[in-house]
């Protein structure tokens, strides 16, 4: 049965919820579970994880591990892998997770699969399921031999059992990072706070041109008394400022009503709005993944549907 090494991730001095989701995934495979916690002043976190299903928790402590660096993290995880010889190495698919995953896979010369939401053992390897083509398709991948996977945050429910494990120091020496951490800063916040709006109407790449936001989307916002949001490509193209962006690298919102117009529903967008109380999606592609999280779906050309909707709203309000 597969032996799994979980690489815990620390954020703001605490273990991320996503790391406890890894525990659930690892335990679901039914084999031996060991974990690794690395950082500075993380002994307590390791002890905590050892009581929450992390099994034997290796803890690597040091000044060199205070800030994340691909160089130091790769070196430590590599040593943990050499010590424990796991069949499967699990990280979370977070900015640090995907920054280190490829480098680590190259160092270890192992199969690597990112952003998976399901893992099963399969012969000498694993079957891993994930999205591809920005959410348009699912793929089941076969990985042979030792496998490294990053798991999509939220794909599993955090492990809630309390199993007694143990904590063991992993002594690592000679750690150095070629690049230097300077600081973490918050992007300047604008005045467009979507988190307080009751209704948000977001436009995506389907609007095709910046002027369509004024011509087509703005009237809908006005008719609904909604704030306007946007998907990332709209912001990347400079059509709307960053404070309009909804998603993992924008704002995470949960309004009473969210209307997605010409947005496909890539996972990074969904994590920003799927907690909304009611979701309406307008998209011409009946297979668009946004319809999976929507409560009401309108399959059609937004340039016809939205003006019709504005008209109907005006009439309804008299």
């Amino acid at each position: 049965m597969a032996k799994v090494l979980i690489v815990g991730e620390i954020q703001g001095g605490a273990l991320r919820e996503a790391s406890l989701e890894l525990v659930a995934v690892a335990r679901g495979l039914g084999g031996d579970v060991v974990s690794l916690v690395l950082g500075k002043g993380v002994q307590g976190i390791a002890e905590d994880l050892s009581k929450k299903g992390g099994g034997k928790v290796l803890v690597a402590e040091g000044d060199a591990l205070e800030a994340y660096s691909a160089d130091t993290h790769t070196a430590v995880i590599q040593q943990a892998v050499e010590a424990e010889q796991p069949d499967l190495i699990l990280l979370s698919n977070t900015p640090n997770g995907w920054d280190v995953a490829g480098k680590l896979a190259a160092v270890l010369d192992v199969a690597a699969v990112t952003d998976v939401f399901r893992i099963e053992a399969d012969g000498d390897g694993f079957l891993l399921t994930r999205r591809m083509f920005n959410g348009k398709f699912d793929a089941q991948l076969r990985a042979s031999g030792r496998t490294l996977a990053t798991v999509q945050p939220g794909a599993a429910t955090a492990y809630e059992g309390s199993d007694a494990g143990s904590v063991e120091a992993l002594t690592v020496s000679g750690l150095s990072s070629r690049s230097t951490f300077v600081e973490v800063r918050k992007a300047a916040a604008g005045g467009h706070d979507l988190t307080k709006a009751d209704i948000v109407v977001s436009g995506g790449r389907g609007l095709q041109k910046p002027e369509k936001f004024d011509e087509v989307l703005e009237p809908l916002c006005a008719a609904l008394g909604a704030q306007m949001g946007a998907s990332r490509p709209v912001v990347d193209a400079g059509w709307k400022p960053h404070e309009y962006q909804v998603g993992s690298s924008g704002q995470v919102i949960a309004p009473k009503l969210y209307v997605a117009v010409g947005i496909s529903g890539a996972i990074q967008h969904l994590v920003g709005m799927k907690g909304s109380n009611f979701i309406i999606a307008i998209n011409k592609d009946p297979d668009a993944p946004i319809f999976e999280v929507a409560d009401l779906g309108v399959v059609g050309d937004l340039f016809e549907v939205v003006p019709a909707l504005v008209e109907a709203l005006k009439q309804a309000k008299g």
Binding site: A111, A112, V184
Partner: protein, 258 residues
């Protein structure tokens, strides 16, 4: 200063995609292709460094014949030379093999900076860049949203979650994987496209790079590609736009939001 930009040709963002018979890849014989979106931003970053001083920009892609078009477009935008690598063994390969091959390309000369995309729009792996960095023994940064070249180093900002940015200083040579939106991507001008026809484009096989099919045998393969099963999903509203609109309004009323 010599800069390598690795770019992938992927289905055009507006292409209608379907799973091919066999169910392990998409039907790709009759669709439009384009340079991977993230890689356009990567190329633009390199071209801006070139515009600001002295730099030679080399673009490299592993892809079949059709990928020549992507490289020509990149040359039309201002890249100086192109390298295209193909072997049928790549048809069902993995990121590790792609990175090994790109490493062989990069090692044929010596680059001060390697720029790539954070992710390919088809595979969505986000693996190739850090893998290549390891094979080239370079420091790397992914999710780069700002990069400023200074004396012998590059100051970068890396996108974290929820609007946080990490500032890092990276000594050259280095590898950067850029996030979309880092700059405004230029179009190839007509003049550029004409000039591109005369720019060198080298086509290489695996053996030209000292590799064989065994060296790039994949550890990861696609067993099944499929349209995600419909779960609960949305209640779909049918009819003409006007009929659809009135049903949506009725729902919004029911929610008490009108």
């Amino acid at each position: 200063m010599k800069i390598l930009v690795c770019l992938k040709q992927v289905p055009h963002q507006d292409a209608r995609l379907e799973v091919a018979p066999g169910g392990t890849w998409i039907q790709d014989s009759n669709i439009k292709f384009d340079i991977n979106d993230y890689d356009k931003y990567a190329l633009e970053l390199a071209l801006r460094i070139k515009d600001a001083g002295e730099a030679e920009v080399v673009v490299a892609s592993i892809g079949p014949d059709r990928a020549t078009q992507a490289l020509r477009t990149a040359l039309g935008m201002g890249a100086d030379r192109a390298v295209q690598v193909w072997d049928d063994a790549f048809a069902a390969t993995d990121s590790l093999a792609i990175a090994k091959t790109l490493a062989a390309v990069a090692k044929e000369e010596s680059f001060d900076l390697v720029v790539m995309g954070l992710m390919s729009d088809d595979a969505n792996n986000s693996l190739t860049a850090p893998m290549l960095a390891q094979f080239l023994d370079l420091p790397h940064v992914t999710s780069v949203v700002k990069a400023e070249l200074q004396d012998g180093k590059v100051e970068v900002e890396r996108e974290l979650e929820g609007g946080s940015l990490e500032v890092r200083s990276v000594p050259l040579p280095a590898l950067l994987a850029v996030q979309t939106g880092i700059n405004d991507v230029r179009y190839a001008s007509l003049k550029g496209i004409m000039a591109a026809k005369k720019k060198p484009l080298a086509k290489k096989s695996l053996s030209d790079l000292g590799l064989d099919a065994g060296a790039v045998a994949p550890k990861v393969s696609i067993a099944k590609l499929y349209v995600p099963p419909k779960g609960e999903g949305a209640e779909l509203v049918e009819g003409s736009p006007a009929e659809q609109a009135s049903k949506v309004v009725a729902k919004i009323k029911e929610l008490g939001l009108l």
